[in-house]
């Protein structure tokens, strides 16, 4: 059950569907990454920054009150929310900035949805004094104004994207357009395990630090591997980062949680794997949301980071091969989980991660019905500070109505 990467493909998924202008840059990046990958100096430098700057390893925290509440699950949270900048995104951006330096590129561009990847990119660019432009949909700029300010504070330029649905997919289009004009001097740091080869594979490798650490930590804590790994899936970088080091252990359930938005029976969700079909967008062949004429359907989720109509090709492969399963959680359930983790554990999760937390209720029910117990590692991909303002609108009514525990 290995990854079967050949010519940049995971099974039938992936590839390199881009305009000719970008092909030479992708070939160059592939070579540079292969060189870096086998260069101990690169790994040492990266490990050093991950330790000293990002604060790795992040804890694997046993969420006792949450576990008690669920009854039949022993839940460990992989605390990516404790990474510098508040999410797992920095694992990738630092690694790519180091790569960009090897390539001699002086400018960094990136797309961002929730703004977490934009902040992580701006941070890494600031660390090395590189020029940095971040494309962000106008819709997301409205939802995530604090992250916009953070990026500016870090010296990046935030360029509003007004085309299409004005969200992550359109920001990605615009960044690719910039890159076709600027590729000789500029490196594009894609924020998730999507895009043309070698991005999905390379970013998977960078994010796999999550699963590698979690594996060591759970062995240390429990003396055994977990029964299940759970993580949210937008583009799918935190989930693939957690899953990858466990893929070969076929007894371990891998569960990706997609954005159910307002429900799969509406067109307003972000569940490419659960409700999409195979197509080509942003350089790779993968499950997507599109209509009968091939036009991309804008995704919807309360969480900007899951608001994407595609998914990383390796997830498509894991779904197709049956190695991982993918489920959905709707907006209102994610919001409830957002509140629940805050109250039970003193941890305010990102809306994205709250989707994974919410799914635990269903996993507990399944487990209870089967009459067992499960040890679960859940990737808490980011902290919820960025979402607090938005949550206030949704939740204050709920908090007023309910008795606070």
């Amino acid at each position: 059950m290995s990854e079967l990467v050949s010519r940049g493909r995971f099974g039938r998924f992936g590839g390199r569907y881009v305009p000719e202008t970008l092909m030479p840059a992708l070939e160059e990046l592939e070579v540079a990454y292969e060189e870096a990958r086998s260069d101990p100096a690169y790994h040492e430098e990266l490990a050093d920054y991950l330790r000293e700057f990002v604060g790795r390893p992040t804890p694997l925290y046993l969420a006792e009150r949450l576990s008690d509440d669920l009854g039949v699950l022993r839940v460990y949270l992989k605390r990516e929310d404790l990474c510098h900048t508040g999410a797992h995104k920095i694992n990738n951006t630092l690694a790519q900035v180091l790569l960009a330096r090897r390539l001699g590129k002086t400018r960094i561009i990136a797309e961002t949805g929730a703004g977490q990847h934009g902040v992580a990119t701006a941070t890494a660019a600031a660390l090395f004094g590189l020029d940095c432009d971040i494309y962000m949909g106008e819709e997301d700029i409205g939802r995530q104004s604090l992250n916009v300010f953070r990026m500016r504070l870090l010296g990046a330029r935030v360029i509003p994207v007004t085309s299409g649905s004005k969200t992550l997919k359109d920001a990605t289009n615009e960044t690719l357009r910039d890159w076709t004009a600027s590729v000789r001097t500029t490196h594009y740091i894609i924020g998730s395990v999507v895009g043309p080869h070698p991005f999905p594979e390379m970013i998977r490798d960078f994010q796999s630090v999550i699963g590698r650490e979690a594996r060591e930590q759970i062995l240390e804590a429990e003396g055994r591997l977990p029964d299940a790994c759970v993580a949210c899936v937008g583009g799918g970088s935190n989930s693939i980062g957690l899953f990858h080091p466990f893929v070969e252990d076929e007894d371990i359930e891998l569960i990706g949680v997609e954005a159910g938005g307002r429900g799969l029976d509406t067109e307003e969700h972000g569940a490419s794997l659960s409700a999409g079909r195979v197509g080509v967008l942003h350089g790779c062949e993968t499950f997507l949301l599109y209509d009968d004429d091939g036009q991309i359907i804008p995704a919807h989720s309360v969480s900007a980071g899951l608001d994407y109509p595609g998914v990383g090709p390796e997830h498509s492969f894991l779904k197709d091969s049956g190695r991982a399963r993918y489920v959905t959680v709707e907006d209102h359930d994610a919001l409830k989980a957002f509140q629940k983790l805050s109250v039970l554990e003193g941890i305010i999760p990102a809306f994205e991660s709250a989707h994974a937390i919410s799914y635990l209720d269903r996993l507990a029910e399944e487990t209870r019905e089967a009459g067992g117990m499960k040890t679960v590692v859940l990737c808490l991909s980011g902290r919820g500070d960025k979402d607090v303002h938005q949550a206030e609108g949704f939740l204050s009514e709920m908090l007023d109505d309910e008795e606070v525990r």
Binding site: G15, P24, E27, S163, G164, N173, R177, R184, L281, D291
Partner: protein, 272 residues
Amino acid sequence: MGGRLEACFDRLRTEGRAGLFPFITAGDPDLDFTRELLPLMTEAGADGFEVGVPFSDPLADGPTIQRSSMRSLAEGTRLSGVLEMVGDVRADIPDTPLVLMTYYNPIIAMGLAEFVRGASQVGADAVIVPDLPPEEADALLGIMNDYPLDPVFMLAPTSTQERIELVNDAGGGFIYYVGQMGVTGARDALDSDLGATLARINRVKNRPVLVGFGIKTPEQAAEVAGHADGVIVGSALIDVMEAQASRESKMRAACDYIASLREGLDRSKTVS
């Protein structure tokens, strides 16, 4: 294969002229307009056309073609409708090469085989898929092999010698040279390396080369034609039509513009 394209390039060569291939987004503002416009532009001096299929996420295109695609999609244009329109217009311009240009996902949605069969049935001569480099094109090429439909691939200022050879070998019809870095869109100045890169391509090519991206004025068209077999003009043409309000004035402006490019080109000669 590609009888009309071959005949067109033969004629251009004999006459010592450069080809003029306008790009238009099918269905902007609606398909009836496109159907009417193509024959008129032929009379105004166009040698062939690129008929663009609108797509929701046109990542190789600049603002002009993005807007044009959105107008067409808002009008309800579908790939099947574009094919039908091509079939209709074929009757009016029986010898003019018609090249379909579409992103890959609409083809996938229709089904590769159905698309290829449909396109060749309605009399399209070639297909350009900007997000499908030769490396990923095996499935489509395998089907196109059985039909008189040429696959056209692109080269760019960044293309290496290796890729020039790859595209030359894999493609049919002509080579589409992307004359500048970045997305489609009219520019005030041409890429200064244009001549040098085209010289590299001309040394290995065994099919005509058309240059697109960024060409706006008759003078630019003439300069480009000095290094290539013809030019593709898209965004500048759409800009000209966008500036007009009524259908009649859009068509008139388009034809006047095409005529001015024709005149500019006829002052130059092709290299081959």
